[in-house]
Amino acid sequence: MSLSGDKKVEMYRSLLLLRKLEEKTVEMTMAGQVPGWLHSYLGQEAVAVGVAAYLRLDDFVASTHRGRGHFLAKGLDPNRLLAEVLGRQDGVCGGKGGEMHMADWNVGVIGSSGIVGGILSTATGVAFACQYRDTDRVVACFFGDAASNQGSFHESLNLASVWRLPILFVCENNGYGEFTRQQDAMRVLDIATRAQAYDIPGVIVDGDDVLAVAGAAAEAVGRARSGEGPTLLECKTHRWSGHYTGDPQDYRSKEELEDCRRADPIPRFRGYLIESGLLTEEAVQKVEAEVVDAVAAAVEFALNSPLPPPETALADVYGVTQ
């Protein structure tokens, strides 16, 4: 199954939405409008969009503290996403989760976690349910390079492997866990190597090339859907910003930061689309304008959303007893 031209244009729009909404969110954070921390996804957009390309609405994603890109790519409403980041009533979790803890089951967003490695086993469990019910639905679970040093990574991959669960473990390798370089936290540089410990395929892909990511994901999704079990997909990518918005990044050289930006997935993909005649310069402008509008609409929606009523703070700790 290859991607249609329309689908590719849609992917371009998605990349742009992730980028522009992120830029805006970072700006709002610097302006003090966002409570808590913000973990910017700038630079890594091709991973989210590439993996989402072959996911259906009834498939799932699960994610991390750096998760908004994954959610947008899966189809989470940008308005409700941004409202959540601002802790507003119309946020997708009513303001209770915020940036690091978001879910929207209706579009297949299982959720994210402020605990590094915390979501892998839950995602594995959703994949288990997909299998238990004899569906062909699949789960894509995102996590960082540093998260692959947590015990939950090992246990979840082993369990998914032995039960052949329909799940993609997508490692977004941006070379850092907070301020620590990957090579200071592990001796393997290819996380995909770790797949061998579970006898599952480990695939490495250029995470700044959205089509390459999509291609690798397609194969892994295919395996998962047809009952062949999990894949570990490592996407090598770049974290443009600091660990959190405001991180001065003293631990990175100027050259390194410039290199990061050179890997920008968006102009690369745009170039491809134009070259292959899928997008004209005009169409590029149009998509851009639409995305700018969407971002503006999200900002307006989010800022206009009221703060949640204090009494909701006590709601939903327990369900209604039957």
Partner: protein, 328 residues
């Protein structure tokens, strides 16, 4: 009504719920063979390995897996062989299962049951003997139950499986052979409702798990000394049925709280605190707590026996509270 043992009550409760609802399944280490105490024995014959499933030794992953299955609509029962092992899977339980409904704005139900054996006795040693219910009771979003009789064991298990919140189901190994009566037909025992296991007028003994039986036995001795003890079994630790406890203390004016867990910062503290908050004026004597002293559980049965709370300890505390001469 029919006779049953505690262990059988659990197996039957599981079998009935597995039968009733195809979403129910049992996961854990060697559950196919029955687990360490045979509570899942024989289930695989009826329900197959799809629904009765051995896991690798990876408590953290299979707990999280069960959570994922639960939010997707299944109703997993996860066995963690010994309560001591919950230390390796606190994160999925506490940061995820307990908070998922709340932090995601009410989107999810988490119908997950964790079945685990607590308690000491017989030289299981420091890593297979602890009673850690207080940890889970302190976490909003979790429910904690500790049945003391076959009736409660079955009724609460079935209620837990049907409940839409994560429930930690703690049974004491020492209770497995306990006998009792229960209905032939389907029944549940409501979560969150205490049970007065013995009525009395002079002193309230709130006891959980194995200590319920110690309290009942102490009550017999107390009766002989002219003290009428009421034994209240909360059955559910969280949410705690404070109304029943407070009402009992208001009636008797005295309170002893007994459990096997370490006394300090144990659930007995909460019971005492609630009473000191809500029924202070009714108290005719200081509240006494019985629990393990501040030590790990040693291996040697001699040492273990020196530490574990007994019926005598409860009886002695009750006599003191009532101002009745304490036997030597």
């Amino acid at each position: 009504m029919k006779d049953s043992r505690y262990i059988r009550a659990i197996s039957e409760g599981l079998a009935e719920e597995l039968d009733r609802d195809g979403n129910v399944l049992v996961l854990g280490e060697d559950v196919v063979e029955g687990g360490p105490f045979s509570v899942t024995k024989g289930l695989v014959g009826r329900f197959g390995t799809k629904r009765i499933r051995n896991t690798p030794i990876s408590e953290s992953a299979f707990m999280g897996l069960a959570l994922g299955a639960a939010i997707a609509g299944l109703r997993p029962v996860v066995e963690v062989m010994f309560m001591d092992f919950l230390t390796v899977c606190m994160d999925p339980l506490v940061n995820h299962a307990a908070k998922m409904r709340y932090m995601f704005g009410g989107q999810y139900s988490v119908p997950l049951v964790v079945l685990t054996a607590a308690g000491a006795g017989g030289g299981a040693g420091p890593h297979h003997s602890q009673s850690l219910e207080a940890w889970f009771a302190h976490i909003p979003g979790l429910k904690v139950i500790m049945p003391s009789t076959p009736y409660d064991a079955k009724g609460l298990l079935k209620a837990a499986i049907r409940d839409d919140d994560p429930v930690i189901y703690v049974y004491h190994k020492g209770l497995l052979r306990q006998a009792g009566q229960m209905p032939e037909k389907d029944f549940t025992v409501p979560i969150g409702v205490a049970d007065i296991k013995r009525e009395g007028t002079d002193i309230t003994i709130v006891a959980t798990g194995l200590a319920v039986h110690q309290a009942l036995s102490a009550a017999v001795g107390l009766q002989e000394a002219g003290v009428s003890a009421e034994v209240v079994d909360p059955r559910t630790i969280s949410p705690l049925d404070t109304a029943t406890i407070v009402a009992s203390v208001k009636k008797t004016g005295r309170l002893v709280v007994a459990h096997e867990a370490v006394k300090g910062f144990g659930i007995g503290a909460e019971v005492a605190a609630v009473v000191a908050e809500e029924a202070l004026d009714y108290l005719d004597a200081p509240i006494k707590r019985i629990g393990l002293p501040s030590t790990p559980i040693p291996f040697s049965p001699t040492l273990e026996a020196a530490l574990l709370p007994t019926a005598d300890d409860i009886g002695r505390a009750a006599r003191e509270a009532c101002g009745v001469a304490v036997e030597q």
